[in-house]
Subunit: 336 residues, 4 copies
């Protein structure tokens, strides 16, 4: 039984997910495509899904009878209406981050799904499917004792001029925000941002690096270095300190070489390579759950919590080292 998927948005990530479904993963096929740029949709159809039908609008695609599940990989501002439409149609929907561009928008999706009565939404927080984070979570739950501290870093070699201070939260730290809630099985209560001097490679509209300090309900203190002009590579670090010991996120697999008086191994420079395998796994999970009419993994509630936390972090960026409170409403039972 093959799941029939419609893809809304055929830019880089929409094309890549289509390739994944058509050429890599079992159990699904792309039967419908839509993009504001019709030529883009046509190109993806031609290259990857010759049997797919093109739709003028995402709404039409969602409504199409042959479409059993929806991928929303369009421009961020359009995520909310498409996801709401999919819920209204009772169709499982995978939505790339952000679930919505505001916490209120994410909340509307949560409310709609709760009203519908069963999970339909999976948000594209792929790190939860990364083998390294999964192994780290296993270590934390079985070996380190209850977590007390997390030391993390998210480093990018460089960013374009258009990358401004708040994007360090919305575009970069958003992944840590979600994955640490999942890793620690916890929620945030406050955020604080501390700055060293600006890096020489940064510019006047970007404070870089910055250290975001999160506090959780269970009392864990998390510090995350965000450094998007670190020059040397794309590097994700995470160490959990628990009652009995520590555990570190594995490094990507590398060949240890000895050359020219140096022991050396390669560091990735492109973020797309760092978690590439986890995209396959997240979509495989989506296909499995959607084939049964539902959804698992990162939920609309997780997307909402991430949005609320991001807003607090951005406020904290302008709060001169003061802690900003993070308050979530009661969690609907659908998400327990």
């Amino acid at each position: 039984m093959t799941l029939k998927i419609g893809v809304i948005g055929t830019g880089m990530i929409g094309r890549d997910h289509t390739r994944r479904i058509q050429q890599v993963l079992a159990g699904a096929e792309v039967v419908a495509l839509s993009d504001v740029n019709a030529a883009s949709a046509e190109a993806v159809r031609k290259d990857l899904a010759p049997n797919a039908k093109l739709y003028d609008t995402g709404e039409a695609l969602i409504a199409a009878p042959e479409v059993q599940a929806v991928l929303v990989t369009s421009w961020g501002a359009t995520h909310e209406p498409y996801v709401l439409a999919a819920i209204a149609a009772g169709k499982p929907v995978f939505c790339e981050k952000p679930l919505a561009t505001t916490a209120e928008g994410a909340r509307r999706i949560v409310d709609a799904e709760v009203k519908f009565g069963r999970r339909l939404v999976q948000v594209g927080f792929m790190r939860r499917y990364d083998a390294g984070y999964v192994a780290l979570k296993h270590a934390v739950e079985n070996h380190t004792g209850a977590p007390i501290l997390v030391h993390a870093a998210h480093r990018n070699p460089a960013v374009p001029e258009a990358y401004l201070t708040p994007m360090a939260i919305h575009d970069t730290m958003i992944h840590e925000i979600d994955v640490f809630r999942w890793l620690l099985n916890d929620d945030y209560v406050s955020a604080r941002v501390l700055y060293p001097r600006n890096a020489a490679r940064s510019h006047t509209k970007l404070r870089d690096p910055q250290v975001v300090v999160l506090e959780t309900q269970k009392g864990v203190l998390i510090n995350v270095e965000i450094f998007v002009n670190c020059a040397y590579g794309y590097d994700i670090q995470c160490e959990v300190v628990g009652e009995e010991g520590t555990a570190k996120l594995p490094e990507p697999m590398t060949v240890d070489m000895r050359l020219g008086a140096k022991r050396q191994s390669t560091i990735l420079t492109d973020w797309k390579d760092r978690f590439v395998a986890s995209y396959d796994v997240e979509l495989n999970h989506f296909i499995a759950a959607a084939s049964k009419g539902g959804a698992t993994g990162p939920s609309a509630w997780d997307g909402f919590a991430a949005a609320v936390t991001s807003d607090a972090c951005v406020l904290a960026q302008e709060s001169n080292g003061q802690a900003v409170a993070i308050e979530l409403p009661a969690r609907p039972s659908l998400y327990n």
Copy 2:
């Protein structure tokens, strides 16, 4: 376009490949199953491939019109006739190791494929698809300079009583035999076996550990420790020493923990976990090539070369440290 595959032999590996095709990989489905134990085939059909047809014999399955490609995962002694039948039928065939139980048998397959005129056979040497070996080969071809030495180890925690000295070659070292030919792009000219004292956990009919020394046409000296009662884990090591430096096979990804006065990480104990991801990749490659009517990757010639080398190694095991020559006939142009 979905490749229709028939699977001959539904034991552990046949079942696992069926699961892979049905639930993990895109582009293929299992449409036919056969096993000398009909109940086994029926169980796999029921659990994993409900639409597959059962055949009484492998020959009947190969002949079935709906079968476009064949997986041979039956008992080793039956590999040769099934592969020959698939070649005769002009159908792409993936054959688990060994390609044949004798070098002569492997040679008959090579001859049949050469006569057919185009590659149809892929042998199940999955290490060539392991991300670690692929990265090592890249390092050797781009960084270390021309190889001169290889130091390797293949360690198993334990083996059953039925495991005898020659199985250290046929069942264990066979993987190194193939993967080093590919890694070095070279052929062997001699084999030598040296023994330390027997490990206490071994038994009288098994010399364990042993060190196999291979020499290549290009003059590379390879020493491989085979130790199948090493107690501590399943561990595969490989270091290449070249003109400019060295490169090591990556360790499996692990979480570095600090607990109880020890820095520690987990070592695998089950060989099935070590190269698990490479099975997906090798079958993905088979599906891609077979969908175009052919085969790529480890060839019948590679299977033949491995068989000839194994025979020499087993002879060397009884040769008191003397080198045994390895001679291959001229390589048919089909395999260049």
Copy 3:
């Protein structure tokens, strides 16, 4: 020419330094000993320095004509008067930390030495002589580019009940306070302390762990985890993030073992073992400089700066996450 040293205070560290001078290092001998507990001094004399003369008071020892240089390894509260007396006598003096129990006391020593007109005091901040920190400083000055962030941890397996929150600064973090000023060639401008929940092994009068955040004049942001009930071992971590890349303090040398499905190496549990080699080096430097009538290495000014910083950190411990300013007077030219 052998330097004649008098040792005031023959407890654990005084005895150990005496052993070092008598049995390990060239160029010096212990000719005088003094301790409030005369039996202790006599025992050290008998065991390690049979030719040494015993003095009733530190003052008498300092005044003794045969004493060319002084080691102050007595109880902390007595350091200031002994160091002042040594300066008054014009004799080089090595003083274990703290230089004085208050910043004012350390200031008095600075003033006395400045008035004397040349350096006589070396403070026992041995980490500056540790081969690991020396290598890290070399990397920071030659490879990483200008420092921007430092992530550090100082972990102890356990502490006695008498260890209270301020001791995390005075007894533990004091080493980081000094070594980072030296490592970064910088001074602090503020301190902040953040707390996660208390570790289960801690007690009500000890907040543990804690994260101390220091900011420097050059704009480096330093976060130091102090965790004195970490259970698993004595562990010192330090990573410097600069404009071009990062550098990490080396781990202590260990044997990598593979045993029982674990890759493992030993973590130290006793702080005395961690920097044991650096004690030899610091005293060797003291002997070399004192033989020429002066002192090098960690100065009275460094001891004063450490005292001022410690006071600010202890204040910050009670300041609810607010930054506490650190202000040093102008540095006397003697210390440039």
Copy 4:
């Protein structure tokens, strides 16, 4: 009580040991110097030991009443007569490797010392005092179970044209020959040499690299790669495989850096830096034992065993892969 030492041979190593005794280590002083090149001895006297007396011959130095112990750091061919003379004089003697240039010469020293009736000779096999090898020996004796295999490598970046094939044994592998006897508490019974193709950087009179295979009385099989044109650095590797697991010689301490898309750390290139700390330790041991009129550590018997083994290895270099037997006479009880 200061041990009065005479140094015969004031070349690089003699000068360095003199510096060590005069400026680094407690408990000894150099009171006499001698060298065939009188200007060299005078220069060392002036720079490092102004109170030392110069002697025209080593024999005169040994006979001098003020000399309590002797260091032999002269040209290899002169070691035997000087050591014999020291034994005849009943004075402890530290002799750099080789103890003698022939096994017969080493045997004469053994016989003389046995006749004297108590140990006077320490041979300069400094690796036994290296903290890494000491830690490895501890791991082998406490954790890995009884040894079965040793995999080792001794790599040099480059050698001069005058370095010929046998020097790979006499000058390079000699250290492994001694240290493995000590590490395993075992003796050799055979040696075998295997060659890959020659490295491009080698020359016609030097087979490089080579793999020396040693077998011990207890049945351990040791393979040592000797590669003196490895280009990338000076690198010493050793892994012991035992009944329960493996243990590796620690790498030298390094700073882990991340720069320019590479994780990297420095590899030494000068052999003198690799075991530099162990020279201090070995001389400290010599001073301690000689102060009591005797000697400990690597003995004349160890020097003899190394000479016998070296001779067998050199013979094996020309034996086309055949094993050459290594036979030692009965060990005199003095050396048990």
